[in-house]
Symmetry: C2
Subunit: 182 residues, 2 copies
């Protein structure tokens, strides 16, 4: 039997063609029947598509930075794992999976690669022999300043030209929508 849900994580468009089609001369994408005076706002809304694009652009940005450091072989989720390990010395596979929102079987592969590249190593868990801890090597630890700088650069770019009020308002509104989608 074929499993269908495995495609979950590769949905990137959210049916979000509105923005691009607008460039081609089309604008209407969703017809809302709202009685709000702002109904027209949603009528041509492509915000979720833009969010998807921002996400992809952020990834491209970060990959470019990794490449600049010669870490060409690492994928974004490898970076997520390292970022998690900067905060905690020992993390189990399941904890990593929860933190980076990936399947445990995916984490198996990701950690294996990080091990192969010398960024992390495994340590046995004496109190539960089913699990083991993933830890940073010195090579892995040495990446932390770089990661902090790159993250700072990312936000600096994202917020370029925005006032403090705009930034804080945006964070607030993103939080609301995140909560709505949760």
């Amino acid at each position: 039997m074929v499993c269908q849900s495995r495609i979950k994580c590769v949905w990137t468009g959210s049916f979000g063609i509105a923005g691009s089609l607008r460039l081609l001369g089309k604008s209407e994408i969703v017809e809302f029947n709202l009685t709000s005076k702002y109904y027209w706002i949603m009528k041509t809304d492509n915000t979720i598509h833009l969010i998807s694009r921002i996400h992809e652009k952020a990834n491209i940005f970060l990959i470019g930075k990794l490449r600049g450091l010669g870490m060409n072989e690492l994928a974004p989720s490898h970076g997520d794992i390292l970022a998690a390990l900067f905060k905690r010395n020992e993390v189990t596979m399941t904890e990593i999976a929860t933190l980076i929102h990936r399947d445990r079987s995916t984490v198996t592969q990701l950690v294996r690669k990080l091990e192969r590249k010398g960024y992390v190593f495994s340590k046995e868990n004496a109190s539960d022999r089913r699990s083991s801890f993933v830890c940073l090597t010195e090579k892995g630890k040495s990446l932390e300043p770089f990661f902090k700088q790159v993250t700072k650069d990312l936000y600096t770019r994202a917020y370029s030209g925005m006032t403090d009020e705009e930034i804080s308002r945006f964070q607030q509104l993103v939080g609301k929508i995140y909560h709505n989608m949760d």
Copy 2:
């Protein structure tokens, strides 16, 4: 030689561990040296991570809707292609790739599947025999009302409990950041 950039589209975390780690008792993720009185806002910023999560949640939402319609076999980007075709009768492979922000070789596979499932068909382009047009079948066309409804549902959920002013402000700010990342 191994190609490194192919991982572009699967970056979903944007080093965004802050939000999750906060749940585990950690909050600081990025240290900014801003002189702004709002520097603390960015100091614990995980907005881009939240954006990634919203994107993923939107995908999960849409996949659930597709599944409810028995379209289990279709991936998100297939939906993007259909959404594009609802707006234009004939679209070339390259145009689709541009619209959905995917590689042309990826689009080849996606369209092939849509053809196999009977949603689209190919028509030869008389004026340029290198390319061909992708068109909706009747089965494909019949999906449009459903897609509109699902998109409406998605936005309704995302904006739940938000005022018109908040929605319009959010759209404005998302637009700014999108532009910054472009």
